[in-house]
């Protein structure tokens, strides 16, 4: 199992600030589907008991019903367990030096990426929709220096607090890694200059 005190590629004196997962409400739909699937064989059993009692007098038919119902129940439970794995193994770990994103897609696809805090440039928290606003969960986008892609925390609780925390930690880490931060900033400036040049050239084209 994965222990928090033994993070992948742990850095010296690294402290864990927070571990975030998707808000539990995001698996509510799954639980409802599961309940419906559990009720189905029970409803079939009850309706047969009320409307077709003769079937229960037949031991062979009953055996068939027990085998089919048992298998159905097992596969529904496994479906729920696999979706729970998908939810539970997705996590974002924020330490005082980096952010680790662990993402599980299905059973056999797993992505682990990390980002050093001194490379963080912008952090955006986004809460949209009625349910998200009421329960205070949403997205946190972390924009890194030198990379165009966002590092995204999906549907985490209290996104505003998380973004504030990341910005504070990034500020502290930047002070410690001043040289690397300057290099990262320079990379971004060069990239932005190139983009600007391309845009200008496109506009000037007849």
């Amino acid at each position: 199992m994965f222990h928090l005190d033994k993070l992948p590629g742990a850095l010296p004196d690294e402290k864990i600030i927070g571990l975030y997962r998707r808000h539990p409400i995001t698996i509510l739909g799954l639980i409802i589907v599961f309940c419906i699937f559990i009720i189905l064989p029970l409803a079939a059993y009850l309706s047969l008991k009320i409307f077709g009692q003769t079937y229960f007098q037949n031991q062979q038919l009953m055996a068939l019903f027990v085998m089919g119902g048992g298998l159905f129940f097992l596969f529904v439970v496994m479906f729920l367990y696999q979706h729970f794995i998908d939810y539970w193994l997705d996590m974002w770990i924020v330490t005082d030096q980096r952010i680790i994103n662990i993402e599980q897609n299905g059973l056999f696809s797993r992505t682990t990426s990390e980002l050093r805090l001194y490379r963080v440039q912008d952090v955006t928290a986004k809460v949209d929709g009625f349910v998200r606003s009421m329960l205070d969960f949403g997205m946190v986008y972390v924009q890194t220096a030198g990379e165009k892609e966002y590092f995204t925390f999906e549907d985490v609780s209290h996104p505003n607090q998380i973004s504030k925390k990341i910005l504070e930690l990034a500020e502290l880490d930047r002070k410690e890694h001043l040289e690397e931060a300057m290099e990262a900033a320079a990379e971004t400036t060069v990239e932005k200059e190139d983009e600007l040049r391309e845009k200008t050239a496109r506009r000037l084209e007849p």
Binding site: H3, V66, L71
Partner: protein
């Protein structure tokens, strides 16, 4: 007339497929899951449910004559018990 033993064989094949996928799922959960009570409790619950359902089904089947056949045409006729 289809002997019940054929249905039992089909059930065992599906159960074997289920077991393979379940073992892989449990391995993934235990390998990559965070060392946390939720990881352990959900996995234990999943295993207990499997054992309960499989043993319950086998227990019921132990009291059934598996050599006897099942006639679907009469079994599906409404209101009448199937001919065995």
């Amino acid at each position: 007339m289809i002997p019940l033993i054929y249905f039992l064989l089909a059930w065992l094949i599906f159960l074997a497929i289920f077991m393979v996928i379940a073992i892989i799922s449990i391995m993934q959960m235990l390998r990559y899951g965070l060392a946390h009570p939720v990881t352990e409790i959900t996995t234990a619950f999943f295993i207990c449910l499997i054992i309960f359902v499989v043993l319950g089904t086998l227990g019921y089947l132990s009291g059934v004559d598996l050599k006897s056949g099942l006639d679907f045409t009469s079994a599906l006729s409404l209101g009448k018990p199937p001919i065995l």
